[in-house]
């Protein structure tokens, strides 16, 4: 029935039809609902069932544990700080209501721009933003104003992705550039003690948070950077590595729970969508640098006193390792290049985190820096292949 309806309205969207300005949108919807009937015109006659829609949707599914946990944690932190008792479902509802507007705004702004550009270029709508649109709210503080999100998303989609040619051509990870844009353009709203906990009641749920000496919304890494001796939660109780692993700590919406990140990571590895080489080597690099920093631990750089394992469970490290560094478009593409790229992401993330007190978290900058260097790494790997071929030619002649 739906198929019949689509067939009926299709002529309006064809060139010459009265809605032809929305042809890309219509085709996007049609191919989303029904697998296109187009059959192969040249080359192979059968194709693997995998397509980029499937790839993207697997990543979205892998992000769901983080999204759901983020909802719970947002409610939990509010309840903890405001002193208002909430049931599990109330916490979930509170978090849901807190994140919903952000998801809507990023998707509307991002997809709106993508649809418009696809139409101008007469291209099919690409599905890359499906992932970006869910990543952006997950890596931002829950208090980020909507207009900032809108501005940053628009900036990234236009200047980081579309000017380079769209999905598959960007140099930098689009979601991370959105985050970096926010971080550098509006630092006051992106860091500090008040950014990471939703502090207002929403639709009658939750309570207002007043920050006092006893209630602080600083993230664990923020606390370290400002010289705290011991990491505590928002109301001053000490936090164990296990609690940090579970994720009941203040932080950006979706990245506090290393457990949920790992569940998502497991799905990405089981399905083979993300590169295990990159994921493994980011963790290896992080452990290595965390270990080095720990050996030379000094109170001048308080984060160096964290154990290597703690380094991995705090902040956005795990999230960046699983979902950001593995973005196939911006990561290294050669097999050996992936190991080098991943390892350096891990090392640099901890390096920035430990030795630069200005930035309590280094994962974002590490991934962006390595995005810029990935082509260089690949270039070296490719040159090695080229010189192997030239040596072979010389030795034969």
């Amino acid at each position: 029935m739906l198929r019949k309806y689509l067939d009926k309205i299709k002529p309006h969207f064809q060139p010459g039809g009265k809605l032809s300005a929305f042809q890309s949108v219509f085709e996007g919807m049609e191919t989303f609902l029904y697998t296109p009937r187009s059959t192969s015109a040249s080359g192979v006659h059968v194709h693997d069932a995998i397509d980029s829609k499937r790839v993207m949707i697997i990543v979205v599914v892998a992000l769901l544990p983080c999204l759901l946990f983020g909802m719970y944690n947002t409610g939990y932190q509010n309840s903890l700080c405001s002193g208002v008792e909430m049931s599990f479902w109330e916490m979930m509802a509170y978090g849901f209501l807190a994140i919903l507007p952000k998801l809507v705004v990023t998707y509307v702004v991002g997809l709106g721009i993508e649809f418009a550009i696809a139409q101008v270029r007469h291209e099919e709508i690409m599905e890359g933003f499906l992932v970006t649109g869910i990543l952006v709210p997950l890596i931002c503080p829950v208090t980020t104003p909507l207009w900032m999100l809108a501005v940053a998303t628009a900036f990234s989609v236009i200047f980081v992705k579309e000017v380079f040619g769209g999905t598959g051509f960007n140099i930098f990870n689009v979601a991370l550039t959105t985050r970096a844009f926010l971080f550098f353009a509006y630092p006051a709203s992106m860091s500090g003690d008040t950014a990471f906990i939703a502090s207002k009641p929403i639709c009658g749920l939750g309570g207002a948070v007043t920050y006092t000496d006893a209630v602080s919304g600083a993230t664990p890494l923020g606390q370290l950077a400002s010289g705290a001796d011991q990491i505590t939660n928002a109301v001053g109780d000490p936090v164990s590595t296990w609690q940090a692993f579970l994720g009941l700590i203040p932080g950006s919406f979706g990245e506090t729970s290393t457990l949920c990140v790992l569940i998502g990571g497991a799905l990405l590895l089981l399905t083979g969508i993300a590169s295990w080489r990159i994921m493994l080597s980011v963790f290896a690099g992080g452990l290595f640098m965390g270990w080095i920093a720990n050996i030379f631990g000094t109170p001048t750089y308080p984060a160096s006193l964290l154990s290597p394992v703690d380094q991995l469970v705090y902040g956005g490290f795990a999230f960046a390792a699983v979902f950001m560094a593995t973005d196939p478009v911006t990561a290294a593409r050669t097999g050996i290049g992936k190991y080098i790229y991943g390892f350096l992401v891990g090392v640099i993330a901890i390096l920035i985190r430990v030795y630069n007190n200005g930035y309590p978290e280094g994962a974002m900058l590490a991934v962006l820096l390595m995005n810029a260097l990935a082509p260089l790494i690949d270039y070296c790997v490719v040159q090695a292949n080229v010189s192997r071929r030239m040596r072979r030619a010389r030795s034969n002649s």
């Binding site: 029904y34 187009s38 693997d48 290294a332 097999g335 992936k338 030619a393």
Partner: protein, 454 residues
């Protein structure tokens, strides 16, 4: 000499409709055949006959513009029925209706020296059945190859063993090898699946230091000449090698012994839409209509008839003809009559995929019956490392393809374009989630390179 190679990367598609072990052999008379110049890259056809001309089997229909001596011949005796032309009068095919003709058959046992063999191969139409690297074209007539590679392995989906096609093998293979040894100063490599060389390769070849008999293990594309060359003696800049299959070698042998070529061929008729896969005995270029009559499954689904295998074959119409290399027909559903709701979200175990994101990869059925749908939109190269898993050569396929797309001659050369043929990329094209037409891209790249370099 005898050696062994194992190809570690690759993929065997498990498709429904394979030949049973005791496949029936049906003899199908070829009432009509066609020769398609597009099957012979690098060969620009010039007609030698007119519609209505009488030809005898082995008589030329066309010659190459590049070299008059290189011919495409009629495999049957009869009357030229049609010279089908397309845009800008390009010759699409020349068809011949089989009939008794009053002409004497072509038969002359060639001399044993290099020049006579060369001429005989070119005149007999066998030259056009060989390919050269670089560029994967019909060999240029004025150069001798560094080495010659003969493959007796067809590892493509649903293919039948190539060695099944060389009846009365030994003597003709022997004569063929001796003839080819006159044409190169290098090695003759001839590759088999383990054990398949028995009774086909003459004894002297195992002790000759100019013949290398290779046992090939591994998944498709292990049978591809390009993959074997890469593993045995890669093609460098400035090198030129020839590739052919063992059936062509057998035909060369029969030319050397009988003085004429036996153009009969065995064709595996396979695929999920063939009721009972069988082997047809017919002639190269035969019309497929009589071959498929009554052989297909009942039903009103649209079908795709492929001359060749599902990876490298040519789509033909039900009244079409067998295309080079004339040894397989695959029939699968076309799929343009299917409505699949949100196929990208499918949890079905019937989906054929190498991705573990599909349940079928984990605990799916053993044999799949895919249709010809592309199953996704065309995208830029997004995922990395997927091609490498099915591309068993020391070449970085993604980078070579990007060099081809950007028409960067230096890069193409550095990244190994001289070593590849489009067929080597077929599996890359199959697994690609971005649905790029990779084989077409590689063909265009090779043609562009040849135009610019030579």
């Amino acid at each position: 000499m005898k050696t062994e190679i194992t190809i570690n990367r690759g993929l065997d598609l498990s498709l429904k409709g394979s030949l049973p072990a005791d496949a029936q052999i049906r003899s199908v008379a070829a009432a009509q055949i066609a020769v398609v110049p597009d099957d012979y890259p690098g060969f620009t056809p010039k007609l030698e006959v007119k519609e209505g001309s009488e030809v005898v089997a082995g008589e030329p229909l066309m010659h190459a513009k590049e070299c008059d001596a290189v011919k495409l011949v009629s495999p049957v005796s009869g009357r030229v029925k049609e010279v089908k032309r397309g845009e800008r009068r390009k010759i699409l095919y020349v068809s011949v209706e089989a009939a008794d003709v009053a002409k004497a058959p072509v038969a002359e046992v060639p001399g044993k020296d290099a020049e006579s063999i060369r001429t005989a191969l070119q005149q007999s139409g066998l030259w056009a059945l060989m390919r050269q690297r670089p560029y994967d074209i019909v060999p240029v007539p004025d150069r001798s190859p560094r080495d010659i590679f003969i493959t007796a392995v067809d590892s493509a989906p649903l293919a039948m063993p190539l060695t099944a096609e060389v009846p009365d093998g030994a003597s003709r293979i022997d004569a063929g090898l001796k003839a080819l040894m006159q044409l190169t100063e290098g090695h003759i490599y001839i590759s088999f699946r383990p054990g398949a060389d028995r009774g086909i390769v003459p004894e002297w070849a195992y002790t000759s230091n100019r013949v290398v008999v290779t046992e090939v293990n591994g998944k498709h594309p292990a049978g591809n000449a390009g993959v074997q060359i890469a593993a045995l003696a890669p093609v460098n800049k400035g090198d030129l090698v020839w590739t052919l299959d063992i059936v062509t070698l057998w035909r060369i042998g029969s030319l050397m012994i009988d003085g004429h070529v036996d153009w009969s061929t065995r064709v595996a008729v396979t695929g999920s839409e063939v009721a009972e896969p069988f082997i047809a005995e017919t002639v190269v270029g035969a019309s497929v209509e009589p071959l498929l009559a009554g052989a297909l499954t009942e039903g009103d689904r649209h079908l795709r008839i492929i001359s060749g295998n599902v990876l490298t074959g040519v789509k033909i119409s039900p009244d079409g003809y067998l295309h080079y290399p004339y040894r397989q027909i695959t029939v699968i559903p076309e799929g343009d009559d299917v409505d699949e709701f949100m196929g990208w979200a499918s949890m079905s175990t019937k989906k054929m995929s190498e991705s573990r994101s599909f349940l079928s990869k984990i605990f799916g059925r053993k044999e799949f019956a895919p249709d010809a749908r592309v199953l996704g939109g065309k995208r830029a190269m997004i995922m990395s490392g997927l091609y490498d898993k099915v591309f068993p050569m020391d070449i970085l396929p993604e980078y070579l393809l990007k060099a081809i797309i950007s028409k960067d001659i230096d890069k193409m050369e550095q990244l190994g374009i001289y070593e590849v043929a489009p067929e080597d990329f077929a599996l890359c094209e199959y697994v690609d989630p971005s649905k790029i037409e990779i084989q077409k891209l590689v063909r265009d790249g090779l043609d562009y390179m040849r135009k610019e370099v030579e």
